[in-house]
Every structure is written in structure tokens, then in C-alpha cells.
Subunit: 153 residues, 2 copies
């Protein structure tokens, strides 16, 4: 157990390819979104999650979970989005500690535009350059990874 099992050559190759590809892709998507719509990926992600929630509204803790962000980070980020008028915060009836974040009309309209471009870019640099079977493999693999990571947290 204390003896480290190194990765074999193929595993190492695949792992590195993943690291490099994913970092570059994330970088590109971020720049693309920022250049075209002035939004960071993390902010975009928040709008997406809200747009899919019932009443386009979620409690901060849930939103943090869905967007894979820390609560602290979410607080700051939502504050910024609130300044831009894309999100509004309101108190949550049942639990007086709770805060609801809600996507505004303006935020929704904005998201519709941004999502088009974003999807096109995701296609161009991810979906369309990957063999469909490999894409399925990625779905399977990263679901397993997310689950495994979830166990420990």
C-alpha cells in the first residue's frame, strides 16, 4: 500500500493527454465566452443552472453544489452577477437563513444569446472532434470520477 504503483506508459500517456487537452479547452472556452459576452465560465455556469431550476430560482447552497463552487466563491460571484442585473437575491420563506438566487428576465435573455455561441464552440472544439463512441466513454468515465470524488467529500 505504501509502495506506489506507478502508471504504465499507456496510462501515463492518456492521463497527460487528458490534462493538456482539458486545460487548453477550458482556457479556450473561457476566453471565448469572455471575449464575446464578457462573462467567465463560472458565471455562465451559474446562469445555466438557474435557468433550469423551477422558477429559475435556487438556494445558494444548492446552486453552489450544482455549479461545483464553494459557497464563498458563489457569494462573490453572485454579487457580481447581481451588479450586472442578471441575478436577483431574495430571502427564502421557510428557512430564514436561506437566500434564493433568481435569474432575472435580463439574465435569461442574455443567456439565450450566450448559450448559442457557447454550444457552437463546444461543438467545434470538443463534440465534433471526438468519435461518438469515445464521447460516450468520456460520459461514463467522468460520471464514475464524479461519484468517486463525491464519496470522500
Amino acid at each position: 500500500m505504501s509502495e506506489p504503483r506507478w502508471l504504465d506508459a499507456a496510462q501515463q500517456r492518456d492521463w497527460r493527454a487528458y490534462i493538456e487537452g482539458s486545460v487548453r479547452l477550458a482556457d479556450l472556452l473561457d476566453r471565448d465566452l469572455k471575449a464575446k459576452h464578457g462573462l467567465a465560465t463560472a458565471e455562465y455556469e451559474i446562469l445555466v443552472r438557474l435557468s433550469e431550476a423551477p422558477d429559475r430560482r435556487l438556494r445558494m447552497a444548492e446552486l453552489a453544489e450544482y455549479a461545483s463552487q464553494s459557497r464563498s466563491r458563489l457569494s462573490h460571484t453572485v454579487a457580481r452577477l447581481e451588479c450586472k442585473g442578471f441575478v436577483a437575491r431574495g430571502t427564502c420563506g421557510a428557512d430564514k437563513r436561506g437566500v434564493n438566487a433568481e435569474l432575472t428576465e435580463k439574465g435569461f435573455a442574455f443567456l439565450e444569446q450566450a448559450a448559442r455561441d457557447h454550444v457552437a464552440t463546444v461543438r467545434e472544439f470538443f463534440v465534433d472532434v471526438i468519435d461518438p463512441e469515445d464521447l460516450e466513454a468520456i460520459g461514463r468515465a467522468f460520471s464514475a470520477v464524479a461519484e468517486q470524488v463525491g464519496k470522500v467529500r
Copy 2:
């Protein structure tokens, strides 16, 4: 062309699984490395690249390329690593503008320790939870992604 081609249900599922899984994994690896060795992934990555270079030394621009970081970011990061005594900067003979970053003995010794733990964690949360064939698919896919991203940059 201006008509957006949305992702079909399966593509969307796979893309989202990837986003969630990769963000959580990156997060976990970062925390793990920071907790056990006080280093961020980006810093670790730099040490790795240096350790593999001839004479454990690389010019800043090359290092930036290998580590998928901007030059500015690299300057700051290397400055930090230099403070810790893991990296030393020296001028580059041929081109007087150039700067070589070199892994120190201390940096190398440190890396040996950190790499063990890191590989173990990568195994536990990535390699070992993924079907070997799916891992190969990931390697293929992200190589293609990296190439595609490289075309435009």
C-alpha cells in the same frame, strides 16, 4: 451556420458529466496536493516539466508552453517557487533575453515525495475507477481536442 445545432440528449449528458467530473477532480487534486505538500497543481506541474527536461532546465517560454500557462502567470509562479527554493533562474547563454528555469536539488527531492502521493490520488479517483478501454478513449479524444485548440491559438 448561424442556425445553432444543439447537442442531442446523449451528447449533452456526456458533456455535462465531463464538466462536472473534471471540475471536481481538479478541485480534489488541488486540495490534496495543497494539504499534503503545500503546493498548487499549477506549481506541481511546473516542477514535473522541469524534472523531465534535459539538465532539468527549460526556458521560460518553453516551460509556459509545456505547462499550458501564460507567460505572465508563469513569471509569477516561478517567482514563488524560487522563494521556496525549488527552482532557480539563470540567464540563457545564446539569447540574452532568455531566462532558464532550473529545478534545484531541493526541488527535485521535494517532487519525488509529492509525486508518489499525487500518482496515488490520480489512481484512486481517476485511473482506477475508469474502464481501461474508456481511458484509451479519453486519451484519443483529448489529444484531438488539444490539437484542435492548438490550431486556432
